[in-house]
């Protein structure tokens, strides 16, 4: 019984961690699905989102949710800025160029954060119920973790509604299917691209605010979630948001279980082992279409 409780406890922690990763991955998946670009700078948008939430909610003393929304807006705007300044020049360029340019952006943004906040000091965000918890049976449900899971659920519902039940979403899906046909139907590609970058950036900012709330805010906090998010979008199938959610949960749970039952090292290794195993069996990922010339 105790063993089962401990197991469930780890699963619950895994779910809350996995949901946060899924938010980060959903941004990347959206961007890839519509815009056909893998944006490595997404990792720094996660990090800067964490800092925005920290500044607004902890330094300025606003409620956490205000900081959270501020992080989403700020990173969404940063996404639009990146599209205007960098990514629109990279259409129809080889993927090496796209990835390298986004890596350059990654370095620039990283330096900015390091210069502004000056050090590798970890900073804590004040979150409602950071130390509170509900006990059910032997299970400890941390209030802050419940809170973040609820927020991610709201985000995913919103994203689902936007993508599948609005005119904007239909335009985005049309672009994802065929850019030329969509353009011929009168869809303004440039405007949709800006909106997609806004949404993806906002999701990155949200992931940063959530991860920063659960753990801490650090200038190098973006790298690990970025790697995890990349694994997740390949695992789930490139460009599939549903796949990203599923894979995020799977990775989060596996991570926590292997950290707890075997060794922390295995936890870090796990996502990449899973990735290699999945790719051996199904190179296009779980929910992906067969990989075309990407």
């Amino acid at each position: 019984m105790v063993a089962l409780t401990i197991f469930l406890q780890q699963v619950i922690y895994g779910i809350s961690y996995g949901m946060n990763l899924a938010v980060a991955a959903a941004g990347l998946a959206l961007l890839f699905g519509v815009y056909r670009v893998v944006n490595l700078a997404h990792g720094q948008q996660i990090m800067l989102g964490g800092y925005t939430a920290y500044v607004v909610s902890t330094s300025l003393g606003a409620p956490y949710l205000v900081g959270f929304v501020a992080a989403m807006l700020a990173m969404g705007l940063l996404g639009v800025l990146l599209e205007l300044a960098v990514f629109r020049f990279l259409r129809n360029r080889p993927l090496t160029d796209q990835m390298l340019a986004s890596l350059g952006v990654f370095m620039v943004l990283g330096t900015v954060a390091l210069r502004v906040w000056g050090d590798f000091q970890a900073r804590a965000i004040h979150m409602p119920g950071r130390d509170a918890a509900i006990l059910v049976g032997g299970l400890r449900l941390d209030a802050s973790r419940i809170y973040t899971v609820l927020i991610t659920l709201v985000l995913f519902v919103l994203l689902y509604l936007i993508v599948y039940h609005t005119h904007l979403g239909r335009m985005m899906r049309a672009l994802a299917q065929s850019e030329e046909t969509a353009a011929l139907m009168g869809i303004q590609r440039r405007r949709i691209a800006a909106i997609v970058f806004f949404l993806a950036g906002a999701l990155g900012g949200a992931a940063g605010a959530l991860l920063g709330g659960l753990f801490n805010v650090r200038p190098d906090m973006g790298f690990q979630p970025l790697l995890m998010a990349l694994v997740i979008i390949v695992f789930g199938g490139m460009g599939s948001i549903g796949g990203a959610v599923f894979a995020g949960l799977a990775i989060g749970i596996l991570y926590n279980l292997s950290v707890f039952y075997v060794a922390p090292t295995l936890g870090d290794l796990m996502p990449f082992l899973v990735l290699l195993a999945v790719l051996m069996v199904r190179p296009e990922g779980i929910f992906g279409l067969p990989s075309r010339r990407a």
């Binding site: 990283g110 210069r115 990449f272 051996m280 010339r293």
Partner: protein, 341 residues
């Protein structure tokens, strides 16, 4: 008649490579102090990795983002066999490093070449991170986070290769091997196959090209030289630890190739030289240097298609009609390759 023409071409080739060897030697003679020699030595090691790697990501168009894993593997095999667990001599250990790296790359090529494009890039990124974590935690093999120290200097008879200047010469010899073999491969059927794969892999396969064989060959070839470079790197350092073989190191190799000029042999060399010099120059920017570097990467990628080497050749092209009244061969070849539309 035919023979004479052939002999003329061979003479040209020999002279060309002799000139390159002389440039390497001239660099050695001109190096003023030990610090510069050390930079040159490390740059030579990077070039050994990057020139064959350029075949993979430039000529073939497969972006591998975990090359530092093979570099690290080579370094650790040498470290493990010479000081950490066994007591072997340097040269057999280096040979073992090359063989083991090649074998590992061969095995990895099975899952990895089920992937293409972004999938391949992220799959190799995963391998890079996996390797870093293994180096970090498998203490028996790597010495863990404390690292490996005191790899004995390689000796030839009584002659001990233990200074930066001697290491530079040793690395230069292997650099020539790496450069020559890459050039040899590119000018023959392998080069044609790689270009066909980059332009349209399915078409190449449909035309009867054994695509997988070429892909696997180039992947292992690049990994072998990365392992060799790692094996050379090991005795150059007083000690090394996993932080030298992170995903960031892998990114650096990609940066060398792309900003130097993907799809050329000289591009990666230009990239290494440029970044090495740049890193010295931007030290003046203090802690902003990463930002300057990142901005430069973005600018070069956005505005210099074909990289710096491409820019140099375009400049040369622009000057040629003025100086010698000749047409612009490079701009046309770029267009034909589909790089610079």
């Amino acid at each position: 008649m035919h023979l004479a023409k052939d002999r003329g071409r061979i003479t040209k080739i020999v002279l060309g490579w002799a000139a390159i060897a002389l440039v390497l030697l001239a660099g050695w003679l001109c190096a003023k102090n030990d610090y510069i020699l050390r930079l040159m030595m490390l740059a030579a090691v990077d070039m050994i990795v990057v020139i064959p790697f350029g075949l993979l990501i430039g000529h073939m168009g497969y972006l591998a983002m975990g090359q530092a894993s093979f570099f690290g593997l080579g370094a650790y095999v040498v470290g493990n066999l010479t000081v950490l667990r066994f007591d072997m001599d340097y040269w057999p250990a280096l040979l073992a490093a090359v063989v083991i790296t090649g074998a590992v790359a061969y095995l990895l090529s099975f899952p990895l070449f089920r992937l293409r494009g972004y999938h391949f890039a992220i799959g190799t990124l995963g391998v890079g991170q996996l390797a870093y974590l293994v180096f970090n935690s498998w203490t028996w093999f790597s010495g863990g986070t404390f690292g490996t120290s005191g790899v004995p200097p390689p000796t030839i008879g009584q002659f001990e290769i233990s200074t930066n200047s001697r290491f530079y010469l040793l690395a230069s010899i292997f650099l020539l091997v790496a450069g020559f073999s890459s050039w040899w491969l590119v000018r023959g059927h392998v080069g044609l196959a790689l270009r066909a794969i980059r332009q349209d892999e399915d078409l190449a396969a449909a035309r009867g090209l054994d695509v997988l064989r070429y892909k696997r060959f180039v992947f292992v070839y690049a990994a072998v030289f990365a392992g060799l470079a790692g094996g050379l790197y090991a005795p150059m350092q007083i000690s090394f630890d996993p932080s030298s073989f992170t995903v960031w190191s892998s990114f650096e190799y990609v940066i060398y190739v792309i900003i130097g000029g993907a799809g050329t042999l000289f591009g990666p060399v230009v990239g290494v030289v440029f970044v090495t010099v740049l890193e010295q120059v931007i030290q003046g920017f203090g802690q902003w240097n990463q930002m300057v570097f990142g901005l430069l990467v973005v600018i070069v990628v956005l505005f210099f298609r074909g990289g710096l080497w491409g820019a140099i050749r375009l400049l040369w092209d622009a000057l040629l009609p003025i100086v010698a009244g000749r047409q612009r061969p490079f701009a046309r070849s770029l267009k034909a390759e589909g790089i610079g539309q």
